[in-house]
Amino acid sequence: MQNPRVLTRRRRESLAAAAFLAPDLIGLLIFVLLPIAYAVYVSFFDWNLIADMEFVGLANYERMLTDADWWASMARTLQFAAMYVPLLFVLSLGLAVALTALAGGTAANLRSAYLLPFAVTSVIASTLWMFLYNEKQGYLNAVLNFFGIPDQKFIGSPSQAMISIVVVVIWTNLGYTSMLFFAAIKEIPASLTEAARLDGAGAWQNFLRITLPLIRPTTIFVVVTSTIAAFQILDIILVMTGGGPADATNVGVLYIYQRSFERLEMGYGSALSVVMFAILLVISLVQLRLSRSSNLDG
């Protein structure tokens, strides 16, 4: 027999939960889901934002298929993601392991120090790094010159600009991501590592067999969110290179921005946004599926 008092409490809890969630869900609906739906709607129109919208069916999507500049910009996005995601993963995990091994005040101070760039706005971070990258008066070239290496153009070079941007974005996010790994590693029960050590496992085996599998949820979160962030990269590029030199850093989102607001092709820009969204969704779902099946295997 059910206890009516328990049911009442459950209902009360449900109501409280709904009350707490409602503002967020309403915000999500108004500021995320509706704009997405509107973008999908606009993608079927020719619209310069000012004159009346003209229905064009799938024409914007057909145009996208043969737009070499769009696919080139998406290739650059992939290039950015291919450098950024693995580098951020390896560096932040390595840093977290190193910070875990350190004890006391030093580790706490180092954690704070690495987290500081995350508190810097992207525009400030970009400006700071532009000082460092300055070809003739920048510190980086001064250091390189000290070792006999000639001046580099960094963001002024089509071949170096993208990796230079990647470095800035990693510098900004390394502290935060390593904190996620640090917290996950700290959650691993000491008894497991102790037992492994007693069984003769070395530090490397301990890392591979104990640490890595047990921080898998954090790993998935970091890989998924950093992949999404890589596809969304815009602000730092806008400040540092504006997509140049010679389009070397003109990534997908910047191309969408240019088409939408410089060319006032909002219908086409919306179609590109929808495709970008679909690509991200597929990547995210594939990553989740892979990690889930790998969890089941494990």
Partner: protein, 426 residues
């Protein structure tokens, strides 16, 4: 949990589009009440006016609005200061899209054609008197005209010149370059481990193209025959592109800039010997960089050819969707189209330094244009051509051509050919 994770990821991914799509749907930060107000003559009219100036220029706008509001009771101008970057990129297009755009708009050549083509600008022809039309320099009046209709009111002209470090030139015994060959040679000689010979804009932007136009014209190239045909694949254009790209390729011009390409602080802080910049840099030269020995001259020309500069600048226009076009027109003409040229003079002589679009304002302020560095610019004022206003597909193609010759290792001829193909492809 399974669905929650999947949903969470989907929503995270969705924010990619939301940021972009949201731009088209989000209301602009307007406090507008004007566009929804009644047009009945008895009711007071409120005009929305957004400006993006700072310092003395912002003070001018504030004073102008206050004076206008105090001068009559029928119309109140509600002024809001906004960011220039947002104004020239997303703010106005999105505000026009959702009907919250101000009654009065600033337009420049890059936006004039876009807005005119879209029908966003009201016809101002009825508010132009014959005397005013005769007073405005003909080429400038032409630049405010679209399909035979006057859609804007010019308020200023900003020209480009060659700024240089006078002391450095004297120390090095180098004459101020007058020809392209001399400019190349001087830029190469003045380039050191710590300094560039010549700063040119490097970004893929309208400003870089604005700086290229004089060189394009000096090489004998042009883009349009005036009949809607755009031709850029010419030997003259190739020559201009080769010349423009030669400085970056030779390493005598920077490939990235720490401060803005218009800011002659590049010369003041010793990181450049010469810089192409505009009359808008004169004020900073005389105040912020008064200790530096910066002077200015006409842009060098090909041997045997005459120097040409370009004249850009803002124009005022009225939103075609405004319910108070006549009142908005009265407001802008009260300052820049009136017989009383007090405000028009103050704008170009006190608030900032620029050349006026009207002969009467030039005549009334002759002394100002012959003071200090202004005199250098005034000397070649007569060579100015108004900044052209091409369709976006043409300006994009030219901007890409500039990037190609600066950084893509492309010859001027190949870059011009590629630009022509892009224009034809639309």
């Amino acid at each position: 949990m399974k669905m929650t994770l999947r949903t969470a990821v989907a929503l995270l991914a969705a924010t990619t589009v939301a940021g972009l799509a949201g731009c088209s749907a989000a209301p602009a930060p307007s406090t507008s009440t004007a566009t929804g107000a009644s047009s009945a003559p008895a009711e007071p009219v409120t005009l929305e006016f957004w400006s993006f100036y700072t310092g003395a220029e912002a003070d001018f706008v504030t004073d102008w609005v206050e004076q206008y509001n105090e001068s009559q009771d029928a119309v109140t101008v509600n002024h809001t200061a906004v960011s220039q970057t947002e104004y020239t990129t997303t703010l106005i297009p999105t505000a026009l899209a959702n009907g919250s755009a101000p009654d009065i708009l600033y337009v420049e050549p890059a936006t004039f054609t876009k807005y005119a083509e879209s029908g966003a600008l009201a016809d101002l022809t009825p508010y132009y008197t014959d005397a005013l039309k005769a007073d405005i320099l003909p080429a400038v009046l032409d630049s405010a005209t679209y399909d035979g209709t006057l859609l804007a009111l010019p308020m200023e002209l900003e020209t480009l010149g060659l700024f240089y470090d006078e002391k450095l030139f004297a120390t090095e015994g180098i004459a101020v370059p007058k020809t392209w060959d001399e400019l190349k040679s001087a830029a190469a000689k003045l380039t050191t481990d710590d300094r560039y010979g010549l700063v040119l804009p490097v970004e893929d932007s309208g400003y870089t193209l604005f700086n290229f136009y004089p060189f394009m014209w000096m090489a004998g190239a042009d883009v349009t025959d005036g009949n809607g045909t755009y031709t850029v694949d010419t030997p003259e254009m190739a020559e201009a592109l080769d010349f423009w790209g030669s400085f970056t390729q030779a390493g005598s011009s920077p490939s990235s800039l720490q401060i803005g390409p218009w800011d002659v602080g590049n010369i003041a802080n010793g990181s450049a010997a010469m810089q192409e910049s505009g009359s808008y840099a004169i004020k900073a030269t005389e105040t912020d960089y008064a200790d530096a020995s910066i002077s200015a001259a006409a842009l060098p020309a090909p041997t045997g050819a005459a120097s040409i500069t370009v004249a850009g600048g803002q124009k005022l226009a009225v939103n075609a969707a405004s319910k108070h076009v006549a009142e908005a027109a009265d407001f802008i003409f009260s300052a820049f189209g009136s017989d009383d040229i007090t405000l028009a003079s103050k704008w170009v002589t006190e608030a900032k330094f620029a050349y006026p679009a009207r002969q009467s304002v030039i005549d009334a302020n002759k002394g100002v244009f012959d003071e200090g560095l202004r005199a250098n610019f005034t000397a070649f004022y007569g060579t100015a051509r108004p900044e052209p206003s091409y369709p976006a597909v043409v300006t994009d193609a030219l901007r890409t051509a500039l990037q190609d010759v600066m950084f893509g290792g492309m010859s001027g001829a190949d870059a011009a050919k590629k630009a022509q193909a892009a224009i034809l492809a639309g």
